[in-house]
């Protein structure tokens, strides 16, 4: 059997050289024309693009990454996928980046800084084009790795005024303050805070809650119920019962997340406790179903899809090396008053 004449390992793929040959230019020129680099004669650009289309040329991302030392990958580091909040962010990021040829990569940290650091180490070795991370709480060496990599990085969900740091989010503390103030406006005086997971953003909301109650002299640490367990509808039901049992005079509860609040509402129904008659209930995030509960749930609508979109757009600009008008984008939040308060 005859051996192949050369040692070529051709994949049968249409390469840049094929396109260049068809267009009658050098591969370098073809490369420049295709990437839209300026300084190529218009006519050549036309010829190259036509040839590429005709041959069905698709650039090889691996070759491009190796030569340019930069891939099209954008890791998105979020705590969990089981929280619809982060799925919405990830979905929006993917929707914006994909048409620009960038690939959003899933990174799940499980609220664990060490896991995040390990993930960062792995992803940074892939020479990502950009990076999206949740919040600001991370290990010192994670922080340094990001800085040392030189990879553009945008922080999600929280705000900071630190110089040279890019972020898109809203003030978690202000949001916690706002919904607490709403409860006070409803003439409530024994306002509880019930939380799970106890991640940094939850604790920032707690801070807003405390600040608000302290301003009017109604803060009572007994009214805080903090569980490190993962947030869920079922846990919300349990914590609701526990709160009413241990603090029978509570007249309002601010749950740090809607799933907990929905569980609380369901527990109230089961126990025959009038909402908002005996106790007002408020949630956070306006998740699916909150507008359908009985009674419908008062909550804070958070702009998670917008955060995903805006952070992706900001990253796009940074990856292109464009200057930004603002390092931080505050997308705010919206108090959504319904029947439960």
């Amino acid at each position: 059997m005859p051996r192949p004449e050369t040692r070529r390992r051709s994949s049968g793929r249409v390469t840049l050289s094929h396109v260049a040959e068809a267009a009658g230019v050098s591969p370098i020129t073809a490369s420049r024309a295709l990437r839209g680099e300026r300084g190529v004669a218009d006519e050549l650009v036309q010829r190259v693009k036509a040839a590429a289309t005709q041959l069905g040329y698709v650039p090889d991302p691996a070759a491009r990454a190796l030569a340019s030392q930069r891939s099209v990958q954008v890791p998105v580091l979020v705590p969990l996928l089981s929280n619809a909040l982060f799925v919405d962010v990830l979905d929006a990021v993917h929707r914006i980046l994909f048409p620009h040829g960038y690939q959003a990569l899933i990174g799940v940290t499980h609220y664990d800084p060490d896991e995040e650091e390990q993930l960062l180490r792995t992803y940074l070795a892939h020479r990502p084009a950009g990076l999206l991370v949740t919040g600001f709480d991370r290990t010192e060496s994670a922080r340094q790795m990001i800085a040392a990599s030189g990879v553009p990085c945008v922080h999600l969900m929280e705000m900071t005024s630190a110089p040279g740091v890019y972020c898109v989010g809203f003030s978690q503390q202000d949001a916690g303050h706002r919904i607490t103030a709403h409860l006070l406006e409803r003439s409530r005086r024994r306002v509880a805070f019930v939380a799970a997971q106890l991640d940094p953003r939850t604790m920032q909301r707690a801070e807003g809650y405390r600040r608000c109650l302290k301003e009017v002299g109604l803060y009572d640490p007994q009214l805080e119920l903090l569980s490190p367990q993962p947030s869920s509808i079922r846990l919300g039901a349990e914590l609701f019962e526990q709160m009413l049992r241990t603090q029978p005079d509570v007249d309002a509860i601010f749950f740090c997340n809607d799933d907990l609040a929905q569980g609380g509402l369901l527990a109230a129904q089961r126990l025959g406790i009038a909402v908002p008659g005996r106790v007002a209930v408020a949630g956070f995030n306006d998740l699916a179903g909150s507008d359908q509960m009985l009674p419908t749930l008062t909550t804070v609508r958070t702009p998670r899809s917008s955060i995903g979109e805006a952070s992706a757009r900001m990253l796009l600009a940074l990856m292109r090396g464009e200057a930004l008008e603002h390092n931080s984008v505050n997308l705010g939040f919206e108090l959504t008053v319904r029947e439960s308060t």
Copy 2:
């Protein structure tokens, strides 16, 4: 200012050559040792691995992909991220693949075969290591592209007996049949089917529903309410009301998904319709909150995390070129009877 002596573009990265040099072997041997290719002396393997660890060597995925014509990427094509079902699958896939060095990539098709085909075209150009796709309904050219690529592919959620096709899932039709039979066992005679989205798997459940009712001569097309809109709690509430208005004698409703069923339960409460007294309600998938509703929701628990894990493991074997005992894995489903029926 002195020019750099060479044209090197070194990234300052620790490369395979550094490791090889430190271990006193050639780069080829180092490569083989690190990849666990057999045929390398044990002692050398030890030396190379020690050197790699000591230098903090991380292989460059782009270089590896270019040389081997195969990346570590595994696109996972799912209809939507807003359905918790697919998030659970994606999460499980990622959990299994990541520790093996593979990267799960998000691909959202929005239930659109053309969009899926376009996505496939893009992803296949990235030389994926493997491919995970949802179900079997796709364009003919999508099917051909997958086959022609030679990339190992596992199909999710549904079963087939087609030869040479890999799948992990359960029989959607059997599940639809099973829950309908349960409703009949509860002495219901006017059993309705309410569905949204109308994707292939929903329609397979519909087929199971029809088959079951036809077997006992109780099938009535008037009792089917099919909406092409996206599934949601709110839509479930609307469809529940519509069903009871147009078919007042209905005594059971099988909703094709739990979010619809939860909406139905909420609507029933709002309207003062007794469940299961006047009408029994069943859902599908056992989503978050179904066990907390009032009444708690009877449903079919589907093994979505297991599907993600098993499909990832099957793909891992295929990517290693291992032979499989079975082309298809049926993970079944579990009827979960609660208060609503």
